[in-house]
Symmetry: C2
């Protein structure tokens, strides 16, 4: 069984052990591969509104995600999340469980949509997973990612409306 | 004649006089309408790689733009700009001249594409202008902007490759 709860300060070493190889590989996140532990802590634990960890029965941290508004002002009803799963925990549905969890946390906090700004197209497992979770590719950024092995590849912008009834109150006219 | 140069510290009051009504109106930028002058200074003058002003013959600041990488790591070859023109200077082609200028500054600094992350769809003058400058709508974010008068409206992601020859060196394979 996987359980998910808000991260506490003491989780950081385990969270960093998951993030470090992901960031340093530079194949999926638009983060400098040379990011320091302090910068990563700020990016994952300080700037976001909330950070979560997914735990095994014995308390091992299997994965982590953050939740934050994607934009300020008139864009603040759309949130953004980032997800990472430890290498040894992959293939167990942890990312999918965190994605479901993030959507209900987002709705609880009043967000009405979730946006991923930069899904590297060659990260096919992730793109397929987000589609299964109900996200749509709403845009593709041509050659926007320089992959360390594959060269210039496209990146997708993915989007999902959450809780559609609440998203558009009757008194807020929709103009497209 | 309009001339464009890098902003200096002494330009800030004139730049803020242009930005303040734009941000406070909350109709085009995803910035809190309550942004303070200090926060705006950081957003426009400190975080970006460079900030420019467009000047009239007599030195009056007509408009301003910033230039920065849109993402870090593998996304750092794509830049992002934000533009604002003073109310009294609109309709004189200042935005269009700044947009051309920003593209050549971007190429000089080694960027190979420019991305606008959030063009509010109801800001039709801007969307039309960016299209005339060669930008394409590569994605549309449904109801992603809560307009203070119009309610929920779409926002566009716009993109332009710059200097295509340099953008894709022969030794960088393109995978889409």
């Amino acid at each position: 069984m996987v359980s998910i709860r808000e991260a506490i300060a003491a989780d950081w070493p385990a969270v960093w052990a998951i993030l470090e190889p992901v960031f340093h590989a530079g194949e999926t996140y638009v983060v400098s591969p040379d990011i320091t532990e302090n910068q990563a802590h700020s990016y994952w634990m300080e700037i976001p509104l909330a950070t979560f960890v997914a735990l095994d029965d014995d308390g091992t941290v299997l994965g982590t995600y953050y939740l934050k508004p994607n934009q300020a002002g008139g864009g603040a009803h759309v949130c953004n999340c980032g997800f990472a799963v430890g290498e040894r925990a992959r293939g167990r549905g942890v990312a999918s469980q965190m994605c479901e969890h993030s959507q209900s946390e987002a709705v609880k906090r009043g967000f009405s949509a979730m946006q991923f700004n930069f899904d590297v197209s060659t990260n096919e497992t992730a793109v397929r997973l987000w589609k299964r979770c109900g996200f749509e590719v709403v845009g593709t950024l041509p050659s926007a990612f320089l992959h360390p092995r594959l060269g210039y590849v496209d990146a997708h912008v993915m989007f999902k409306r959450l809780d559609a009834q609440q998203a558009l109150p009757a008194d807020a006219p929709k103009v497209s």
